[in-house]
């Protein structure tokens, strides 16, 4: 059994994949909780992650789908970074291989958290180890040449869209990761990356001959997804867009479905309709990594109209639509744990009471 865990951190992403063989992959890390606010229902991500790791202090792959704060907040405080001594030592968690889109290396003008992670990604790329970069725009070759590195020497660290990531494979890990984005296209002006944005991957798990497919779609907009569907279908790779679990993009923003929000329900563009309605498998699970769904119209996601669409998809599949900040209840959200076994995906639903009391330390007792 593999475990996919989505943490309840508001409008932000962090997904931990624990494989049956003990290997780990973490997609994004954004510790968003305000420790001074007792009413903040977002989880203490660092604590939750460390509890999952136990005595383990290294994660096989940590992917940063892009470097917005809601995908990497406090990463520099928690992880051991190779590029500077001040981010090393103590109880920091090591990253065996870091996955980033090319833009995480190339982007200029970034600040704060993103700048630190960019420095780490650049350091690993220049050193030639512990990193995988997704997509190969011309600018990436230029980045290397500027540093007197022959681009072909780093080719093994770069994955193009439409390929499998070599860090995991079905034979030894019972999982494979297929990268969909960022993808590059040849134009008259050379190779450019059409979408300057995020990592979009499909993971296929295999347990007792049953394949269970997970799509992690980060914050991409509908135009990008439209492009992914177009390119994937052009290459006759439809199965690479099937899903049993779909982490819907951008915290249920309507912009990831269509140009228009819609009055009650967002009407997705055709290729997205195909992705959700045709490619979703029976009893599939849609996960919105977001704040609770508002009843009124809002500017920021989640947008209720987009949610209404996802809910309908879930209903038609006989599946579930789950919001991380509403699971299992709005009043007391907890990380969403999905088990992947020989009968597909299953949301773990464990009641409290005595099991909760003996699973956690008791408050302090004593004679004073």
């Amino acid at each position: 059994m593999h475990i996919v865990r989505f943490f309840n951190i508001g409008n932000a992403d962090s997904c931990l994949i624990e494989l049956e063989n003990g290997r780990l992959a973490l997609f994004d890390f954004a510790d968003m909780r305000n420790k001074d606010d007792a009413s903040d229902k977002r989880c203490d991500l660092e604590k939750e992650l460390r509890e999952c790791l136990g005595d383990d202090k290294e994660i096989d792959v940590v992917a940063f789908t892009h470097l917005d704060t809601d995908h990497c907040n406090r990463a520099k405080d928690v992880f051991h970074l190779e590029h500077a001594a001040k981010y090393q030592g103590g109880d920091r968690i090591k990253i065996k291989t870091m996955w980033v889109p090319a833009t995480a290396i190339l982007e200029e003008g970034v600040e704060g958290q993103a700048r630190t992670l960019r420095a780490e990604a650049r350091h690993r790329f220049i050193e030639g180890k512990g990193i995988r970069v997704f997509s190969r725009p011309d600018a990436l070759d230029q980045f290397l040449r500027d540093r007197d590195i022959e681009p072909s020497k780093r080719r093994n660290l770069i994955s193009d869209a439409g390929t499998l990531c070599p860090e995991f494979n079905l034979a030894s890990d019972s999982v494979e990761f297929f990268a969909h984005s960022p993808f590059a296209e040849h134009t008259d002006n050379g190779v450019i990356v059409r979408n300057a944005s995020a990592l979009f991957v499909q993971a296929t798990f295999e347990v007792q001959g049953r394949a269970t497919k997970l799509i992690l779609s980060a914050d991409v907009d509908h135009e990008t997804i439209d492009g992914i569907v177009r390119v994937t279908r052009y290459h006759k790779n439809d199965t690479r867009l099937e899903w049993d679990i779909n982490n819907v993009p951008h915290h249920s923003s309507y912009t990831s479905l269509a140009e228009e929000k819609g009055a009650e329900e967002t009407d997705p563009v055709d290729r997205l309709r195909w992705l959700y309605e045709t490619q979703g498998r029976t009893a599939g699970i849609l996960v919105s990594t977001s704040d609770p769904i508002p009843s009124e119209d809002t500017t920021q996601p989640p947008h209720r109209q987009a949610v209404n669409y996802y809910k309908r998809v879930a209903r038609d599949l006989g599946g579930q639509f789950i919001v991380t900040m509403e699971h299992p209840s709005k009043t007391s959200p907890k990380p969403l744990v999905i088990e992947i076994g020989g009968t597909g995906a299953k949301v773990r639903k464990a009641a409290g009471g005595t099991p909760a009391v003996i699973a956690a330390p008791a408050p302090r007792a004593g004679s004073l």
Binding site: P328, A365, S367
Partner: protein, 736 residues
């Protein structure tokens, strides 16, 4: 949600409402409507994507509780498209929905540990296992097509085809148990006159229990649905000369046989027989149907075929009474006769005359140990002859009478008495338990152990039972002064089962390895070779004889290795107890718990230490038996003025103890030590711990205790939802 539960007279319903509305952690169930004893809830089971049965992530159910919680709650599905082909369901049970067969245990036993949370978790688990196809596994016997009913018909073994003859009939509390045989017996004169109609319907693939028809229209409709031609055959039968000849003084009994198979192509594996009795005589029945006419003339009665049969418009007006039908096993058993040394005389009561009771009573009775009073509310069924002391001739007779009769046939002194009753429902003055030197419980029912423990008027009680796999014999007996009561011994027996290496696997087979033997989900028994029963009962009989001649407490398990036949006795350590009572709570703390805490406290000094408490509880009686104080988990923090109990490995330990005791041992609270200079009384921090327990555990309807072990005494507080909480202290003087 709409309110209204205050009118409920079911404490369990109220507890469920409390759990669903106040649970700290999401209970994965939501209260939609509470209306007295009826609760509408939505259950969220754990479901994998691939489901054998299409259970939904949210299932609407209605729970119908019985006033006073005297019976198990009905569980109805409120979903119109709930998959009706499921097993473990009863169709058309009222207009409210599909009734789910969730409970397999006797309610009086189940209700003792059925907290609100356990009830909800049971429903979630039932739905999850139904979805995954685990609820009805291949090796399980085929479902009976119609649930059991009042009268019982015992039919011969083999393929049930007539002609059948009535060979025995016993009536008790207006319920008949009737035996049929394939040939007439000479001793069956004077039995009630029944006219037996029998037919065989086409083979059926088994599935959900069909609704029991209560009228002829319903039966004929069901017969039609199953491809039979019942009506035509029955009409021909009624007007046949042999029926007409005695129509006025015979009662019709309609027997319908249905061969059953697992798949449409598969072979028939079993035959189910339904029996129905219309109201009145065969002549009345024939007239109701418009087929016959009966004339009475000068005291003579003539029944003839109606010349112009009139058509009966509504056959549903002809009521039918359904009978439970049980088929006899092959007659292939012989009883072992073993000699047991003869001993003294005593007044003894046996509760339960089943496999253990009948064999042990017979065995001890042969020694001339004394006079047995036998209490049992069951009748002998065909399969009982394999392991119980009854022969085929006793089938249909009350077990208590059968056993007493067997005992009374041993010797000239025929002083064994029989009472056909459930001991839990008898008036104390009527059950004569107080007159006995020893009351022996053979029923393997936690409810009976509880009942005997509570009775102040009896002289001494013992319980003799088998482990669920039938390989171990357990004897628990109070000392002659009743210093430690049976339930307190039982709780410590569970602790031994969970912790003693020599008892590994003792209760592991609980609730598995059972086979079905009659037409109800609850009628379960276990496959068990007779030699094993006889061997262990022989030991039990010998021990019982010794017990009567001794005043000491006894707690011993004999483990039988079925392969080699080797038997090892294991004596259980039983400690005296401290008792604390309030208006509605009774707490017993084993003195060994105080010793465990004091030893751990001394080892940790000058630091404080602590851990969790383990015990049993009984919701019906409001009792808690605290039997163990576990040491601090390794991630605990210990200091001279405080203790923070960690959690590493704790859950597997507690769950392991539950698993090894058929779910009887539970976490029941927290303990910690106070140093020499501090009193064994709660500090402000300690009150925080108790409030924490209250917040988490009160909504789940389980008891929770806190104990503080000081230098000279231990302080205790126990609370339980809706009951007056209790505090007390226990001196260490006797423990040090």
């Amino acid at each position: 949600m709409t309110a209204g539960v205050s009118e409920a007279s079911s404490k369990l319903a109220q507890a469920v409402v409390g759990y669903l509305t106040r649970s700290v952690d999401h209970p994965f169930a939501t209260l939609i409507k509470a209306d007295g004893c009826e609760l509408d809830i939505e259950i969220e089971p754990e479901l994998a994507q691939d489901r054998v049965v299409p259970i939904q992530p949210v299932e609407p159910l209605r729970l119908v509780f019985s006033p006073g919680d005297v019976a198990s709650p009905l569980v109805l599905s409120l979903r119109a498209d709930f998959p009706v082909g499921l097993v473990h369901t009863v169709r058309d049970r009222g207009a409210d929905g599909l009734s789910l067969c969730v409970w397999e245990e006797a309610w009086q036993d189940l209700s003792r540990t059925l907290t609100a949370q356990v009830l909800i978790e049971r429903l979630r688990d039932w739905l999850s296992r139904t979805a995954s196809g685990l609820l009805h596994q291949d090796e399980q016997g085929l479902e009976p097509l119609i649930p059991g009913t009042a009268h019982t018909l015992i039919v011969p073994a083999g393929e049930p085809v007539g002609p059948w003859h009535l060979v025995g009939a016993v009536e008790h509390e207006e319920r008949w148990t009737i035996c049929l045989d394939t040939h007439q017996r000479s001793d069956s004169e004077g039995l009630p006159r029944f006219a037996l109609f029998s037919t065989v319907l086409p083979s059926q693939v088994h599935g959900a229990l069909h609704a029991r028809p209560y009228d002829l229209g319903g039966l004929l409709k069901l017969s039609d649905e199953l491809g039979g031609n019942l009506f035509t055959e029955m009409r021909q039968w009624i007007v046949a000369p042999e029926q007409l000849a005695h129509a006025a003084d015979h009662y019709p009994l309609l027997l319908v046989s249905v061969p059953k198979r697992r798949t449409a192509e598969g072979p028939d594996e079993a035959v189910e027989v339904w029996a129905y009795q219309p109201v009145g005589t065969l002549a009345d029945f024939g007239e109701c149907l418009g087929l016959t006419i009966t004339h009475r003339d000068n005291g003579k009665v003539f029944t003839g075929q109606a010349m112009l049969p009139r058509l009966v418009k509504d056959l549903s007006t002809i009521e039918l009474q359904g009978w439970r039908v049980v088929q006899r096993l092959d007659r292939s058993t012989a009883r072992a006769h073993s000699a047991v040394p003869e001993r003294a005389d005593a007044q003894l009561v046996a509760i339960g005359a089943g496999a253990i009771g009948s064999n042990v009573v017979m065995n001890t009775a042969r020694t001339g140990i004394g006079a047995w009073a036998i209490i049992d509310d069951d009748v002998v069924l065909p399969h009982n002859t394999v392991r119980q002391s009854y022969g085929d001739a006793w089938v249909g007779a009350p077990k208590a009478h059968a056993l007493a009769d067997q005992v009374n046939h041993l010797f000239v002194e025929a002083d064994a008495t029989a009472t056909r009753a459930d001991v839990l429902r008898m008036e104390p003055h009527a059950d004569k338990l107080a007159l006995a030197d020893l009351v022996v419980d053979f029923s393997a029912s936690p409810a009976v152990v509880a009942h005997l423990s509570d009775r102040q008027d009896i002289k001494r009680a013992a319980s003799i039972f088998f482990s669920p796999d039938g390989a171990d014999l357990v004897i628990l007996a109070e000392d002659a002064r009743r210093t430690t009561r049976l339930d307190e011994i039982e709780a410590q027996y569970f602790l031994a089962t969970a912790t003693a290496p020599g008892l590994a696997g003792h209760l592991d087979a609980a609730r598995i390895d059972r086979i079905r033997y009659a037409n109800a989900c609850q009628d379960l028994t276990r496959p068990l070779p007779p030699w094993q029963v006889q061997t262990l009962c022989g030991i039990a009989a010998g021990q019982l004889v010794s017990l009567v001649g001794s005043t000491a407490l006894t707690a011993v398990i004999w483990r039988l290795d079925p392969d080699s036949g080797g038997i090892v006795p294991i004596a259980l350590p039983i400690s005296p107890v401290h008792r604390h009572t309030s208006v509605d709570l009774r707490i017993a703390v084993s003195k060994s718990v105080l010793t465990m805490m004091a030893d751990l406290r001394a080892a940790a000094a000058p630091n404080e230490t602590g851990g969790v408490l383990v015990g049993t509880f009984d919701i019906i009686r409001g009792t808690v038996n605290i039997v163990a104080a576990l040491p601090a988990p390794p991630d605990s923090r210990q200091a001279p003025t405080y203790f923070v109990r960690g959690a590493r490995n704790l859950r597997p330990i507690i769950e392991g103890m539950a698993a090894k005791t058929a779910g009887r041992l539970h976490y029941v609270g927290e303990w910690h030590s106070h140093p020499v200079h501090a009193a064994a009384r709660p500090s402000r921090d300690d009150e925080t711990v108790f409030a924490y327990l209250s917040r988490h555990l009160d909504p789940t309807d389980v008891p929770y205790a806190m104990m503080i072990c000081g230098e000279r005494e231990t302080w205790l507080r126990v609370a339980w939802q809706g009951r007056v909480s209790l505090e007390g202290t226990m001196s260490h003087t006797n423990e040090q």
